[in-house]
């Protein structure tokens, strides 16, 4: 394995514009002479922003770089620069060898053509020779588990078949540098497992891998992780310290401010209390009270109060269709009551059994009639369920547990 770097980013800056293009003919007439007079600009114009600022790193064959960061951090820009879809505005991107991306699986598939025809087209797009594809064709179809569906038009494929075929082609391109975006969310678990398995085998053969992921267990397998925020490289180091830094930054962001508000009417705030003390941090299993403060212009008859708890931690990809992890509802509890003016509604939980992570809360108070007005508030409260003291990454939820040994015999039984 050579130690010649396979990927080099040297002081890379990338500028993007918020506007697609000059929008009108009149504007065009105005900008062209302006550009000619001022020459090519190196700075930012009105609509531009830096998608990446002064990024430096290099990777050697067999290394895996994970990239983490909030939305708009510049993660995709890094991949696009590596793939030569973007060119840097300053600095240099040097890549040695064939780059293949699992960025958008099946880009370039033609829906009318069969799986077989698309293998040859897509393989060619990914830089394979026709002869090479002919040799690998059987293996590609087998990897994709397509069998007799190979000759069916791709438009009739299920999304799983589509993704499997696309991945199978990319997998056979034998890249020197592999780019992985979070595309592997498609397909069933066994296929995903095979994908990660294949990525790992490819890496061992000396392929350099750059992957964007929000799944911590995936990032932890990387050699190094790059943390980006708004185009700035924040940290580049071994996975654990970078992930910890990212998580703590996210936590700070989420618990800053109490979110109290001087609304004339509505839900003025939601508080989280632990033994009557307001808090933003709890451990799974703690007692908790959510307190919903309201101010009403008119009385609400038979109010129904709901709290939706949204898990904000990217470690937790499973969500309900509404996006909430859990919902608390007063249901019919207040059917015979009327609330008016201002006050608060409390809901007590003896044991708050929630997975580790950051949450925000959406609150609503609604009358019981069909058309009764509702007041609601998104992002009414943010709180964090702290990691149980010793479990680290090994458990997301804390299950109440007690253990015992049942002693049966002095000798092992068959």
């Amino acid at each position: 394995m050579s130690t010649q770097p396979s990927v080099q980013f040297q002081s890379v800056w990338k500028r993007l514009t918020r506007r697609a293009q000059v929008s009108t003919f009149a504007e065009l007439l105005y900008t062209i002479p302006k550009r000619i007079l001022q020459g090519r600009q190196d700075g930012l114009s009105e609509h531009d922003f830096w998608a990446l600022q002064n990024l430096n790193f290099q990777l050697i064959p067999g290394e895996t770089l994970g990239i983490i960061g909030p939305n708009g951090a510049g993660k995709s820009s890094v991949l696009k620069l590596l793939f030569r879809i973007f060119r840097p505005d300053r600095g240099q991107v040097i890549v040695n060898g064939r780059v293949t991306g699992l960025i958008e699986l099946g880009a370039g598939f033609h829906p009318m053509l069969s799986g077989r025809e698309n293998v040859f087209i897509n393989g060619s797009i990914l830089g394979m020779k026709q002869k090479e594809i002919r040799q690998k064709y059987a293996s590609i179809i087998e990897f994709a588990e397509l069998g007799e569906f190979a000759d069916m038009p791709v438009k009739n494929y299920s999304s799983g078949m589509y993704a499997r075929l696309a991945f199978a082609i990319a997998a056979h391109a034998e890249p020197d540098v592999l780019l992985v975006d979070e595309v592997l969310a498609v397909g069933d678990a066994s296929f995903q497992a095979r994908c990660y398995d294949w990525i790992e085998r490819t890496r061992k053969k000396g392929c350099t891998i750059v992957m964007v992921s929000h799944q911590m267990h995936v990032l932890e397998s990387a050699s190094r992780v790059l943390y980006l925020n708004e185009g700035n490289p924040i940290m580049l180091d071994a996975p654990r310290p970078v992930i910890d830094r990212y998580m703590s930054d996210q936590a700070k962001l989420m618990t800053s401010g109490d979110n109290a508000d001087d609304l004339a009417v509505g839900i003025s705030r939601v508080q989280l209390l632990n033994n009557d003390n307001p808090t933003h941090e709890l451990r799974a299993g703690d007692t908790a009270t959510f307190r919903v403060h309201y101010r009403l212009a008119e009385p609400v008859v038979g109010p129904v109060v709901t709290l939706e708890l949204m898990h904000n931690d990217p470690r937790f990809p499973i969500q309900t269709p509404g996006g909430q992890l859990a919902q608390l509802s007063s249901g019919a509890s207040f059917r015979d009551q009327t609330i008016r003016g201002s006050g608060h509604v409390d809901v007590d939980l003896k044991s708050l059994q929630l997975p580790v992570g950051m949450y925000n809360v959406r609150a609503a108070v609604k009358g019981s009639g069909d058309f009764a007005a509702a007041i609601r508030r998104d992002d009414a409260l943010r709180f964090e369920i702290l990691r149980p003291p010793e479990s680290e990454f090994s458990s997301l939820i804390e299950l109440p547990q007690s253990w015992r040994v049942v002693h049966q015999s002095e000798v092992p039984q068959p």
């Binding site: 993007l16 879809i85 958008e104 009318m112 025809e117 087209i121 797009i125 020779k129």
Partner: protein, 261 residues
């Protein structure tokens, strides 16, 4: 040198160009009964219409050459030219998912459309053979020069294709303007009528390579022309110049296609 390096890279993508052209052709004629036979429909249909107009309504003197053959030798290469322009205009915009997601020499997309247009051209050319056999006209002594004329025409078409494809990515107006341009251009060139011996149409033909290209096809195939005339050589010069300028322009803009598409 960068140009040499770029040319070498483009050459390394020749297989991809062929595969993409194949994709164009296959997807176009899939689920049709006539298949590639449709490539004949437009030039033959136009030839019939113009034969009707210029033999019944306003008879036209085309010398010894029967009008259908005269018109078809004009319409066949003209259709190729029009197909190259319309096809390449949308070549980048139709393939957004590729342009924004995968890297390859972007020239492959307009070039694949050019190749697909050539495929249709080859099929429609068989009708010319049949027509000439029907009228008992043998190819002229200079017919062996026809491939040279075709090469010049392709160079001209490809040069324009590069410019149009890139321009249409910036401003989609291009594809609409193009429809008008193609119509005006057709009637402004000697596609369905012989070039007048005087007047501004003659002057215009010095800077419009299409007219000398079509006239040369006619002179070589059904006339006694055996050499390439100055007007054609000028057209060849313009075509080569456009090919180089078009490609350099395309190269220059290419780096931003991923952001623009």
């Amino acid at each position: 040198m960068k140009v040499v390096q770029d040319l070498r890279e483009l050459f390394s993508y020749r297989e991809l160009i062929a595969v993409l052209a194949q994709r164009e052709i296959r997807s176009r004629y899939k689920y049709t009964l006539l298949g590639a036979g449709w490539a004949l429909a437009l030039p033959v249909g136009l030839m019939l219409i113009f034969t009707m107009v210029f033999s019944q309504v306003a008879p036209l003197d085309t010398g010894d050459v029967p009008y259908p053959i005269f018109a078809y030798i004009g319409l066949l290469p003209w259709q190729l030219h029009a197909a190259i322009l319309t096809g390449s205009a949308r070549s980048l915009t139709d393939n957004r998912s590729l342009v924004t997601k995968v890297y390859f020499a972007r020239e492959a997309l307009p070039l694949a459309r050019v190749a697909a247009a050539l495929f249709d051209f080859a099929i429609a050319a068989t009708v010319l053979g049949a027509l000439m056999a029907w009228y008992g006209i043998a190819p002229g002594p200079g017919a062996w020069l026809v491939p040279v004329v075709l090469l010049v025409q392709i160079a001209f078409g490809v040069g324009l294709a590069f410019i149009i494809a890139a321009a249409n990515l910036l401003y989609r107006d291009v594809q609409y303007v193009l429809q008008v341009v193609i119509m005006v251009w057709m009637f402004g060139s000697a596609v369905v009528y012989p070039l007048p011996q005087e007047g501004w149409l003659l002057t215009l033909s010095w800077i419009n390579p299409i007219t000398p290209i079509l006239n040369t096809y006619r002179g070589l195939l059904v006339g006694n022309q055996v050499t390439l005339e100055p007007q054609f050589l000028t057209a060849a010069g313009i075509s080569l110049f456009l090919l180089i300028v078009g490609w350099l322009m395309f190269r220059k803009l290419e780096g931003r296609f991923g952001e623009l598409a």
